[in-house]
């Protein structure tokens, strides 16, 4: 008895043509990005040209052309918030790098035992909840019972300073918190960059009699220049979008005379406190233009020349 022709190998049933697979696998990202990234961006751009009372529903929107942008550009408080933001970005950002660079060099050259623990300690504020940080500092800056005033009194005999309620002290207080928070982050960046610098450069320099300071200037600094560009760019962007620390330290209001009101805080308040979503959206796009401009400027000033 002969069997019939051998059965064909059973074809696996494909529910998806193979050429679609990459798109399916990448789809979750695009879906999430479209919902949480792209849509808010486009909606905010649309809102920037609308007048809208949100409590009236979506149909309460009506187009006003460039009116929101004209309003924002002529709004004294928007400019005041931008000035505050720039002040805070410089006062908190520049010291971060000026301290983090030599500190990283010192740790890289001198600290052997316990280096990870030390770097971890510096990095800790960065991963601590902003609200916890701000509450802690609100307590430190307390006029009558705060640690800062206590130390100033003991060490220098300076009387009680009302850090968070006097316009002239709010900005330095916020800048100090931001500096403390992001110093560790920059330290880790620079330490990583320094570890990539070949050891033999230092050895050769030492044999040539170069002092540690000359080595820092002529080997370390050029070696970490790409990282300086990266770190400063992050600081510029982060500094211009500063929100959480001043928001919590000033109870979400910006403090006395709005001295701690940053641009990001102001546009949040415009929308959610003052019910002006159109104006807030226009301001957010103007802020974006400022961030873009200053990032470009940073690139022009600091970007290492192409090899």
């Amino acid at each position: 008895m002969t069997s019939a022709a051998a059965p064909l190998p059973r074809r696996r049933r494909r529910w998806l043509p193979p050429q679609w697979a990459p798109y399916v696998f990448i789809a979750p990202f695009f879906v999430l990005f479209a919902v949480f990234g792209l849509f808010p961006l486009l909606f905010s751009l649309w809102l920037a040209f609308q007048s809208w009372d949100p409590t009236g529903g979506l149909h309460a929107m009506h187009g006003v052309g460039l009116e929101n942008f004209a309003f924002a550009l002529g709004d004294e408080w928007f400019w005041k918030a931008l000035r505050n933001t720039l002040w805070l970005a410089v006062a908190s950002g520049v010291p971060q790098h000026l301290v983090a660079l030599p500190l990283a060099a010192f740790i890289e050259r001198r600290v052997r035992r316990g280096r990870d623990a030390l770097v971890g300690a510096y990095f800790l504020p960065y991963i601590t909840s902003t609200v916890a940080v701000a509450i802690l500092f609100a307590s430190f800056f307390s006029t009558d019972y705060g640690l800062v005033n206590l130390l100033l009194d003991r060490l220098a005999g300076i009387g009680a300073i009302d850090w968070l309620n006097r316009a002239e002290y709010i900005k330095p207080a916020i800048a100090l918190v931001v500096f403390w928070r992001y110093l560790g982050f920059n330290l880790v960046l620079y330490l990583a960059a320094m570890q990539a610098i070949p050891r033999d450069l230092y050895e050769a320099a030492t044999l040539d009699g170069a002092s540690p300071w000359r080595q820092f200037l002529h080997i370390t600094l050029p070696g970490v220049r790409p990282m300086i560009f990266f770190g400063v760019t992050l600081s510029v962007i982060g500094g211009l979008q500063l929100f959480e620390e001043p928001f919590v330290l000033t109870n979400g209001r910006g403090g006395s005379d709005q001295a701690g009101l940053t641009a990001a805080m102001y546009l949040y308040r415009m929308a959610f406190d003052f019910n002006d979503f159109g104006g807030a959206s226009a301001m957010s796009w103007l802020l974006f233009a400022v961030v873009l401009g200053l990032t470009w400027l940073t690139q022009r000033l600091l970007k290492p020349p192409a090899e």
Binding site: S51, W52, D53, P54, T55, G56, G57, L58, A60, F71, G74, D75, E76, W77, A138, S139, S142, T143, D144, Y145, D162, L164, N165, R166, A167, N251, G252, R253, G254, S256, D257, Q258, F272, D273, F274, N275, D276, G279
Partner: protein
């Protein structure tokens, strides 16, 4: 105790067809258990959970879902829900500071319309509280649950040490400041936490129902009017004489000053007695007293309302209205709110309750609720403007400039006017 029947509402609910969809679909699917969603903020969320048994007694077939959020989160969530008409609760609690803003948008039901007919109940509430929820179109967009009649709390022990009679605090602003100087000289205590408290009262004092605080009926800015000049001048006098502790309200320093008697008076709503007694300064029991505000200024401090969104589930709107009636028109609920969370009742029927005549141990046995009752009944309903919250900020900032940087008052008020005029029609 006076208990008012709410039976007609039940019939209204039946008439409005709560049960109709269930009957219609009964043959095909098991009937859905109706749930009424109420969004609220502290401490109203707690109160609603306490009141739930009373609700179940009225509607055993309807479960109550309370969505509690922090105060600001709640109002942000309600703004978002109204803007997209999604996840709208059946009933939303609203703070008085948001009522004016929400009233402009047209997203809330006009409760004058059937089946609500809030106008029929108008006389049962404190007039000012009812009128506060009326917008420019004449719509009543929320029902009043509680109000905060303004009052002055003062430390009797500090006054005694300073040799100051309590009457001097209330006769006039001048006598209030004079008393403050004596208190400062003899005890070292400041009169008040922040000079801004004085300004906030003076600019509101004397306004009648229907008048606006910052803008008049024709949308003209009012901040250069005499009440603002006087408010700023008095605040500056307070600061120049060193009578304020320069402490922001609700800051840790301010609370500590209240505890230690470093600040002699606090100008606030009647609810402040409960805040002081329960968590701010319970150890100071017996040392505080309440008095009218200087020059008998009648100023409100806060208040809560309940509203229904236009685009909320239509089949549950009658139920939602019955819930609002329970919270605002049931004397037992209103009194419980007063006793448990110091929410001063808007329902006039509760104002004759013996509780108003009881001595208050925290206030040294004073029968202060009588005082607040009088203030509550004559509280004016100020016309809210969409730019009100921004105007509050501007006036605060300009006062800061006057107090901290010596800016002249006419200049500060002129600058404020310019900022407010620019936004008047936004």
């Amino acid at each position: 105790m006076n208990t008012l029947s709410t039976q007609p509402t039940r019939r209204t609910i039946l008439a409005c067809g709560l049960a109709a969809p269930a009957w219609a679909g009964a043959a095909a699917t098991p009937p859905e258990v109706p749930r009424l969603t109420v969004a609220a903020y502290p401490l109203l969320d707690k109160l609603i959970r306490w009141v739930e048994p009373q609700w179940r007694a009225r509607h055993p077939e309807v479960a109550l879902d309370v969505v509690g959020r922090q105060w600001l989160d709640h109002h942000t969530a309600m703004t978002t829900a109204l803007s997209t008409a999604s996840r709208l609760p059946d009933v939303m609690a609203l703070d008085i500071s948001f009522v004016g803003r929400f009233a402009q948008g047209g997203g809330l039901e006009d409760l004058r319309q059937p089946p609500f007919r809030i106008g029929d109940e108008r006389a049962r509430w404190v007039a000012g509280a009812y009128d506060q929820a009326t917008n420019a179109r004449g719509e009543v967009i929320a029902a009043p649950a509680d109000i905060g009649p303004g009052t002055m709390f003062y430390r009797a022990d500090v006054l005694e040490r300073a040799g100051v009679a309590a009457e001097r605090l209330t006769q006039s602003w001048d006598s209030y400041l004079d008393a403050g100087r004596q208190i400062l000289a003899r005890t070292g205590a400041r009169l008040i936490g922040h000079a801004q408290e004085v300004k906030d009262i003076v600019v509101r004092a004397g306004l009648r129902s229907g008048e606006g605080l910052y803008y008049d009926a024709d949308n003209r800015v009012q901040v250069e009017s005499p009440r603002f000049v006087r408010g700023f001048e008095l605040a500056r006098r307070v600061r120049q004489a060193g009578l304020d502790a320069r402490q922001a309200l609700w800051s840790n320093e301010w609370v500590e000053s209240l505890r230690r008697g470093r600040v002699a008076t606090a100008l606030a709503g009647a609810w402040m007695s409960g805040q002081l007694a329960r968590w701010l300064a319970p150890e100071t029991a017996g040392r505080w007293r309440a008095a009218p505000l200087p020059e008998d200024a009648n100023v409100g401090y806060g208040g809560s309302f309940y509203a229904i969104a236009r685009r909320a589930e239509p089949r549950r709107k009658a139920l939602a209205w019955d819930f609002i009636r329970l919270m605002t028109l049931d004397p037992t609920v209103q009194l419980r709110a007063f006793k448990e969370i110091d929410a001063f009742p808007t329902l006039l029927a509760t104002h004759d309750d013996p509780y108003f005549d009881e001595p208050m141990p925290f206030l040294g046995g004073q029968r202060a609720r009588r005082l607040w009752r009088e203030a509550a009944r004559t509280l004016p309903a100020l016309r809210m403007h969409k730019q009100g919250p921004f105007a509050d900020e501007v006036m605060g900032a300009e006062l800061d400039q006057v107090l901290e940087r010596g800016k002249s008052i006419p200049q500060a008020l002129a600058d404020a006017r310019r900022l407010l005029e620019r936004r008047a029609n936004r």
